[in-house]
């Protein structure tokens, strides 16, 4: 028994060595995620593989800790440094805790970028945001307006009155309202990210504004509750619920027709773009500096701001045509 184990181990190591030797020419890009086994990141890995097969000479190492801790990620990154990978693209569990380890990686000549959840500036060469506040603000009103060619009344169901993200997105939305003539925001209410309060607020909106055409909820709890309220009020088809939500949580609302479409970043595109950026930076055909543009294959290119971070794209729109592909992913 013992001998057999030994034999198998030896064989495994030998295979590993041969495999390593065979792909020695390939650029090795490590995609480090917050934790393994999370649908969102599995999807990102899928995108990274897509980028790798497009580029040809790239090997993806998809890795991460088993739970979402900074300590676990530090361990993983240390072992990647020991393996001398060419690039590390990390979605960080902690903004600051990873900085010393990632600095060490950069000193060894490894390209380091962060994506999704960023690292402090000194710990990475650039950071890729899934989207930007102006893009999100524009997207949420666009989703509602696209269904209202003749114009109409829309209302916003937000999280709490003090939710920073939601307030910024609503501000950005109000800035671009002039691009959508005929669409009027009649009210902004707050569901406090509680299912029952959001449901009640959505019901209240439909009562106060009988001609309401759409509810925009830029929060995942709110959009689900609003969709349920619309179904229960029998207003499917009259009131369209849209905003930001996750496909797994919104699949029921799309199915019932309460929501025609909603948006959130696409993890596949995100993993794809992060890999593309890491490749170009590591290859040296792009530089990470304020104002620089880095190509991202089919996603176009990202332009970096003064903190060396950039936004990938508009949030991705989900509707009846693609919800089935994503509802089991995240």
């Amino acid at each position: 028994m013992k001998k057999l184990t030994k034999l198998l181990t030896t064989a495994a190591i030998a295979t590993g060595l041969f495999a390593g030797a065979a792909s020695a020419e390939d650029m090795r890009i490590a995609l480090v995620v917050k934790a393994l086994g999370i649908g969102f990141f599995e999807a990102a890995a899928k995108g990274a593989e897509e980028a790798a097969s497009e580029l040809g000479d790239v090997e993806i190492i998809y890795t991460g800790p088993t739970d979402t801790t900074a300590e676990g990620q530090i361990e993983v990154i240390n072992s990647l440094i020991a393996q001398n990978v060419d690039a590390i693209a990390v979605s960080a569990n902690d903004t600051d805790a990873l900085v010393p380890t990632l600095k060490k990686a950069m000193q060894r000549g490894i390209t380091v970028i962060s994506w999704d959840s960023g690292v402090a500036e000194e710990g990475r060469q650039m950071h890729l945001n899934p989207s930007s506040n102006p893009l999100i603000g524009n997207m949420i009103i666009k989703l509602a307006a696209d269904e209202l060619p003749e114009g109409g009344q829309v209302a916003v169901l937000s999280a709490t009155t003090t939710s920073t993200n939601q307030n910024i997105w609503i501000d950005e939305m109000n800035k671009v309202m002039s691009n959508y003539p005929g669409v009027e925001v009649v009210a902004t209410v707050y569901g406090d990210d509680l299912a029952d309060k959001s449901y009640r607020e959505a019901t209240g909106l439909m009562q106060s504004y009988p001609d309401l055409d759409a509810i925009i909820a830029p929060t995942s709890v709110g959009i689900v509750a609003a969709a349920q309220a619309v179904v229960d009020a029998g207003k499917v088809g009259q009131v369209n619920v849209t905003g930001l939500g996750l496909p797994s949580e919104m699949a029921g609302a799309i199915e019932s027709g309460a929501s025609k479409s909603f948006a959130i970043w696409n993890p596949i595109d995100l993993g794809y773009s992060a890999t593309m950026i890491a490749y170009h930076l590591s290859k040296g055909d792009a530089v990470a500096e304020p104002g620089a543009s880095i190509p991202m294959g089919r996603m176009g290119e990202v332009t970096l701001d003064e903190t060396n971070s950039g936004a990938m794209a508009d949030p991705f729109v989900y509707d009846a045509s693609n919800i089935a592909d994503f509802k089991d992913i995240f």
Partner: protein, 325 residues
């Protein structure tokens, strides 16, 4: 005179006044169909307030009701996802049982280990939420994963009122019977009114408190299923902070926090009062920044009434005793 002074009469008056105020700004609120909707929306609060009333009556408090609700709701949702064939009555029985079990844990700790109820239930509140996290790793159970029958049950309309509302009515009737017609019901009053005297009459104070927690837990469990089915979503934080609404409904309903004084009617009316405010605020166009302040002020005004009513009653008794001498 006594009718006017009774808490229920004052509350009914306050509720009518509130409805009139809301109607003056938004007439659609007092249409029968909307009132039914408001009652249905308030049903979970009524059910929980009745359970809480029994606990507070015995000089205890149950802060774990919302967490119990969330855990039971999540378990029901998970069962429904894994075994969509399990019929709803079985799930309801399971919810009642699981809720009662969690209530029994509270009750046992209070009874056998004589830990103060507020400490016990603060602890179990966190534990129950933690268990949901362990069960799900923080992920949600969503609408499309639940079976149609699972979601339809509380919405089923019988004689114009959804099942959710009927359950609140039935729970009210049962509790009304238990409190007024059974020895257990009288024991709750005795334990809260004067525990020492209760012991001399042969009532086991700890055991009575234990049973109060079981009732409260059982009702929280029942509400757990109804809640998850109604909002068609289950996650760690559902009904976060709802235990405070439940206690507030009791206090508005004239349940004395010191124990010994409570009525089923009061608890129901207290819950309705709070439910009407919650449902009215979104439609009367009040700034969201004011909504919390208004809810809070309503509670304090109700409690002020409460303590004033209690005090004057005491004086009257003393005076009449003086006159008698």
């Amino acid at each position: 005179m006594t009718l006017l002074k009774s808490r229920e009469a004052i509350l009914v008056g306050a509720i009518l006044l509130l409805l009139a105020l809301v109607a003056s700004r938004f007439p659609g609120f007092v249409t029968p169909s909307n009132l039914v909707a408001v009652f249905t929306d308030t049903a979970p609060l009524i059910i929980l307030a009745l359970g809480q009333m029994v606990v507070i009556l015995t000089r205890s408090i149950d802060l774990s009701v919302a967490a119990n609700l969330a855990l039971t709701g999540m378990v029901c949702a998970l069962i429904n996802v894994s075994f969509p064939g399990v019929p709803v009555p079985v799930l309801v029985a399971l919810a009642l049982g699981l809720g009662a079990l969690m209530g029994a844990i509270n009750g046992f700790l209070v009874w056998k280990l004589t830990i103060p109820p507020i400490v016990v239930t603060l602890g179990t509140m966190t534990i129950f939420r933690g268990v949901i996290f362990l069960l799900t790793n923080g992920s949600w159970v969503n609408s499309h994963q639940m079976s149609a029958a699972f979601k339809a049950f509380p919405r089923e309309n019988i004689l114009g009122l959804p099942v959710l509302g009927w359950i609140a009515v039935i729970v009210t009737l049962i509790l009304g019977l238990v409190m007024s017609r059974t020895t257990l019901g009288r024991a709750f009053f005795a334990v809260g009114g004067n525990p020492h005297a209760a012991v001399y009459t042969g009532i086991n104070v700890g055991r009575t408190q234990f049973l109060a927690f079981v009732i409260s837990g059982m009702l929280a469990g029942l509400t757990g299923y109804l809640w998850v089915a109604r909002y068609a979503v289950a996650y760690v934080d559902i009904a976060g902070g709802f235990e405070l609404d439940v206690v507030a409904a009791c206090v508005i309903g004239g349940v004395s926090i010191a124990g010994g004084i409570a009525t089923v009617g009061g608890a129901v009316l207290g819950a309705l009062f709070l439910g009407i405010i919650k449902n009215a605020l979104p439609v009367i166009d009040v700034s969201p920044f004011w909504q919390l302040a208004i809810s809070g002020a309503a509670i304090i005004i109700a409690v002020t009434f409460n303590s004033r009513a209690g005090r004057s009653k005491g004086r009257v008794i003393l005076k009449s005793a003086e006159h008698a001498q």
